[in-house]
């Protein structure tokens, strides 16, 4: 083998460092840009410009709130209420206790963040659409509470005469001092946001792109959504601090619920890069100021921009710039180096040879192990790892799964077959935690996991694959693996991963975007991910669907690989040859019920089974067309 472990490790380490450095560029640039703004008072004393800088910074932090939540696939209209909490915290603390700048910054971050925590418990249980609506309502509620509370919060008159923030003898209420203080607070907000966004970038990216897949690999969405919400609320609180420090008075009118739309527009139009809110805030502030006397024009522009960006430029302005620069770099011939190129004779040679190598190896392996067509022996291999008892699922009056029971032991490979609509996928969904059973129990390694969420079940030792391809399509192959590794409890060794990749031909395509791979390779990657988390039980949902006949041998290898390591495998399939090759036991389902259970020979000769399949016993299942199924991906769960 040309690859040594050392080279691989070093290369892997290099890629992680490169990934981290790459992730830090945008935040660094953002922070520097904001820092530059602190120099404004050196160049001008124009009162308007000096007050414009803090105004832009307020919008920036508010947009950052929205941005953080967009990264976990949530749309938040909550910037005004948390700004209000921050602003009123400043008012109360500065008026009654101290105007020390450090205390204020700490308080105006912590109070909104702490208040966001119990809200997160309530709100994040809801689906994304509810979340958006409720944050919209929240903005109104906070306003009402402030007004009705009267006394301590100043009621409808607000709190005026708030002393400016101070450090030592310096007051940060006006002129250059105000600008510097505002910049400092903004930098604090950006640093915190960046720290979170970078540290958990893989988790956020996985959540945003494909939450169900991430959950099935062990990621707990709730933790990261809460993190984003709490930190985002603190950041919005800092925006409130800058605003109220500048105004000197806290008033409900300064936190109008509809301003959330502006902040959202800034975040969306700016784009997914950390620089997005910066660009968006600059654009928005300029727009609002320029068209102050003709509000309808800026409103029109914003509305149109939102639509255009959503339809044609998903990544926003920063995304477009990023795409252009990538295209430009390609034109200039500076392509990304792959690790294999370092130190070897150039890209083309070894890679092609390696591809051929892997193909031949695969065939050899397939031929070596067990000849096609002869069934594997049934071996009593060990403890029961999965016990399903009386599992049922009803949708309204229809029983999709009706009282299914079976056991899996370590090393088992159980094939589940049956005509379409028999309830096989529903059954897998229930065991894997994507659906709640209507009746029955599921026990994993002796523990009752009935009704557990998919990430909980995954962490308990179960993994699954999906009928359609399920990978993180926007990320490279190596990034897909890196993500899964970062949130799963167990992970295979680097050597094992390399083996899996090599045998499927993916080792040569580590730096390719998963979405750009041919369907077959995507499917295989989608099988490797759950394998790599070293589950005790693996559920495979039609792994061969979409693969060329010549590629289907790889399924055998992958199943062998994991069975060798003690996994029990449940395999839903239509490809009878594959099933006969690798499944010593079969379970037949039809209209939700178990029809038969036993060795392939006995089951497949059962006249009832044949009747159920009448007219559809054919080895050449036509794979689903890539287009439609790829669109549906995980939305059906």
């Amino acid at each position: 083998m040309p690859e040594t472990s050392i080279t691989k490790d070093a290369a892997a380490l290099g890629s992680r460092k490169r990934g981290l450095a790459r992730a830090m560029v945008a935040p660094a640039v953002a922070i520097i840009l904001v820092g530059l703004a602190a120099a404004t008072p050196k160049f001008t004393a124009d009162p308007f410009l000096l007050s414009f800088v803090p105004t832009v910074l307020v919008t920036l932090l508010a947009a950052m709130h929205v941005w953080l939540l967009l990264r976990v696939d949530l749309l938040s209209f909550g910037s005004p209420p948390f700004m209000a909490i921050g602003g009123y915290t400043l008012a109360l603390v500065a008026t009654n206790y101290t105007s020390n700048a450090f205390v204020l910054v700490l308080a105006c971050f912590a109070v909104p963040a702490l208040m966001a925590l119990p809200l997160a418990v309530v709100l994040l249980r809801l689906r994304g659409t509810y979340f958006a609506l409720v944050t919209f309502v929240l903005a109104q509620v906070v306003m009402l509470i402030i007004i009705i509370a009267e006394g301590p919060l100043g009621g409808s008159s607000g709190i005026s005469g708030i002393p400016p923030a101070t450090v030592g003898g310096t007051e940060f209420g006006a002129g250059g001092a105000l600008v510097r203080f505002s910049v400092a607070v903004a930098i604090v907000g950006l640093v915190v946001a960046a720290a979170v966004a970078i540290t958990w970038r893989r988790h956020f990216a996985a959540l945003e792109e494909n939450e169900p897949l991430a959950a099935s690999l062990g990621l707990n969405p709730w933790i990261y959504k809460t993190l984003a919400f709490v930190v985002g609320s603190g950041v919005a609180g800092l925006a409130g601090l800058i605003l109220i420090n500048q105004l000197g008075n806290a008033h409900p009118d300064s936190f109008l619920p509809l301003s959330s739309v502006n902040h959202l527009a800034a975040a969306v139009i700016g784009g997914a890069s950390f620089l997005g809110p910066v660009i968006g805030a600059l654009l928005l502030s300029w727009l609002v100021h320029t068209f102050a006397s003709q509000a309808q024009l800026s409103q029109l522009f914003l509305g149109a921009a939102l639509i255009i960006v959503t339809l044609f430029a998903r990544g926003g302005i920063t995304g477009v710039v990023g795409d252009l620069s990538r295209a430009g770099a390609k034109i200039l011939g500076r392509t990304k180096t792959t690790r294999l190129d370092e130190g070897t004779n150039g890209p083309k040679g070894p890679r092609n040879a390696e591809k051929e190598d892997t193909v031949t190896t695969a065939r050899e392996r397939a031929n070596d192990r067990t000849p096609l067509g002869s069934p594997r022996q049934v071996v009593e291999t060990g403890d029961v790892v999965l016990a399903v008892d009386g599992l049922s699922k009803s949708f309204g009056g229809v029983k999709a799964v009706n009282d299914v029971s079976f056991e899996l032991r370590r090393g088992d490979v159980l094939g589940v077959i049956g005509p379409n609509g028999a309830g096989k996928t529903t059954m897998i969904n229930m065991i894997a935690g994507a659906m709640t059973p209507t009746a029955g129990t599921v026990a994993l390694l002796g523990k009752d996991v009935t009704g557990w969420s998919s990430q909980r079940v995954s962490r308990q030792g179960l993994a699954r694959s999906y009928q359609q391809t399920s990978v993180f399509r926007g990320a490279t192959v190596s990034e897909n693996l890196a993500r899964a590794k970062s949130f799963s409890r167990r992970w295979a060794t680097d050597d094992e991963i390399a083996d899996l990749l090599r045998s499927t031909g993916l080792l040569a395509r580590l730096e390719d975007r998963a979405g750009d791979l041919p369907y077959g390779l995507q499917k295989l990657l989608g099988l490797i991910l759950p394998l790599a988390i070293r589950p005790d039980v693996l559920l495979l949902d039609e792994p061969a669907a979409g693969l060329e006949l010549s590629e289907r041998g790889r399924i055998d290898q992958l199943v062998d690989w994991t069975v060798e390591r003690g996994t029990a495998v449940l395999l839903v399939e239509h490809d009878m040859d594959l099933v006969r090759r690798i499944c010593p036991r079969l379970l037949v389902m039809d209209t939700g019920k178990t029809l038969d259970h036993g060795s392939p020979d006995s089951v497949l000769n059962n006249p009832e089974v044949i009747t159920a399949y009448l007219g559809v016993v054919d080895d050449d299942d036509v794979p689903e067309t890539a287009n439609s199924s790829q669109q549906e991906e995980m939305n059906h769960g």
Partner: protein, 400 residues
């Protein structure tokens, strides 16, 4: 490695820039009073208020009043400031009726070198603008009646017209002569602009021996049926709409009559009688008394109106007419002080002004009792009266 080099460079660049930002002195401001040197001199008056949105009537009226006095001064050959003749111009800003809007407007004006402002409008705006204006030594001829609108700490803030504290009481007393009432309800929006006036009205009713309660409603309410039902409980003799938006007041009036209310209506708040009548429908008004800054039938007013139209392109409203004397006084004081830059000097002169106005007559300084600062200019005001649905009549009242 390549990446750590890149990182290092960024870090270095960043620290350099930040150090640059921190060092050195801030630039000094060089603001002018709106003109310099001999010969041509231009005095730019700032005016700001809500020029769009629900309170736009008020904002536009204030802008129009400012434009009129500027026009008037220019018609009379400009202002004689020291040995220069200055033309007067007006620069407007739309605050959206918010505190932040007024503060931004103040910085805008400061950038333009404007030192004298007719405005802002509303308690919230005044609160937001005061600190910023003070920083740039701006003189405000304002109309906002929050609890601390005029303060000793802000000697450059004046009121260009009287607040409810001044006119509410006398109007109530006058109204008692025409209507028999013992109980009253005051209704206004549940926010600052509602509270500030409604609370004072409530006090004044009580002082006049009337049994009064105060109700509030959420701004933006569209359906007043519950509010109307609530107002009718106890069948008060008078329902005062205080500073409720005209459309709301008119709607409530209409629905109250529809519900069978036959008491007296009052509007002790910003005058918007025409709008209220339009929305309510004239047949629903019946008995109504209200604060009117001017008597629309008076000779001087009638004579002024065509000029106003010419100068501003807008019809003169009661509010805008009521603000003219206050704006005129400002210009007078600038002229007398002989400076378009030194706001302190102008303020000193202004405090000594005898408040004698060609259109509205003799005014008085008020404000001591309510705010502790006597910087509120109060000209005679009127009670408008509609009885049994007849044409309105006006009775002149005065602060003393």
């Amino acid at each position: 490695m390549h990446t750590s080099q890149k990182g290092g460079t960024l870090l270095l660049a960043g620290s350099l820039i930040l150090t640059l930002a921190a060092c050195g002195a801030d630039a000094e401001s060089e603001s002018s009073g709106g003109g310099g040197g001999s010969g041509d001199c231009v005095l730019t008056l700032g005016t700001l208020g809500p020029l769009t949105g629900p309170a736009a009537d008020f904002g536009l009226s204030m802008e129009a009043a400012t434009k009129f006095v500027a026009w008037e001064a220019n018609q009379n050959g400009g202002l004689q400031v020291g040995d220069q003749t200055c033309t007067v111009e007006v620069s407007s800003y739309d605050t959206g009726y918010t505190s932040a809007g007024a503060a931004t407007g103040a910085t805008e004006f400061a950038s333009q070198g404007i030192k004298f402002v007719v405005g802002p409008l509303g308690a919230t705006e005044l609160t937001g603008m005061k600190p910023v204006a003070a920083r740039y030594d701006m003189l405000l001829d304002a109309n906002g009646f929050g609890r601390e609108a005029l303060e000793e700490e802000y000697p450059l803030v004046f009121h260009l017209g009287p607040g409810p504290f001044v006119w509410s009481g006398p109007i109530i007393e006058e109204a008692k002569k025409h209507f028999d009432f013992e109980t009253a309800k005051v209704i206004a929006t549940n926010d600052e602009s509602g509270d500030d006036i409604a609370i004072i009205n409530e006090e004044k009713f009580a002082e006049a021996g009337i049994d009064v309660t105060r109700e509030t409603y959420q701004r933006g309410t569209q359906d007043f049926a519950p509010i109307v039902a609530r107002l009718m409980r106890g069948n008060p003799d008078v329902i005062d709409f205080a500073s409720s938006p005209a459309v709301d007041a008119g709607t409530m009036m209409k629905q109250l009559r529809q519900a069978g209310y036959d008491g007296v209506f009052a509007r002790l708040g910003g005058e918007s009688t025409a709008e209220i009548l339009r929305v309510a429908g004239e047949e629903n008004v019946q008995d109504f008394f209200y604060y009117a800054p001017v008597d629309h039938d008076a000779e001087e007013i009638v004579a002024l109106k065509p000029d106003f139209k010419e100068a501003t392109g807008m019809e003169a409203t009661g509010i805008s007419l009521g603000w003219i004397p206050g704006a005129r006084t400002l210009l007078e004081s600038i002229e007398e002080a002989g400076t378009i830059d030194d706001t302190e000097a102008v303020a000193e002169v202004m405090r000594e002004n005898d408040l004698s106005d060609p259109t509205l007559g003799q005014g008085v300084w008020t404000g001591e009792e309510q705010f502790g600062v006597n910087q509120e200019m109060s000209w005679p005001f009127f009670m408008g009266l509609i009885k049994d649905g007849a044409e309105p009549t006006f009775t002149e009242l005065s602060a003393d």
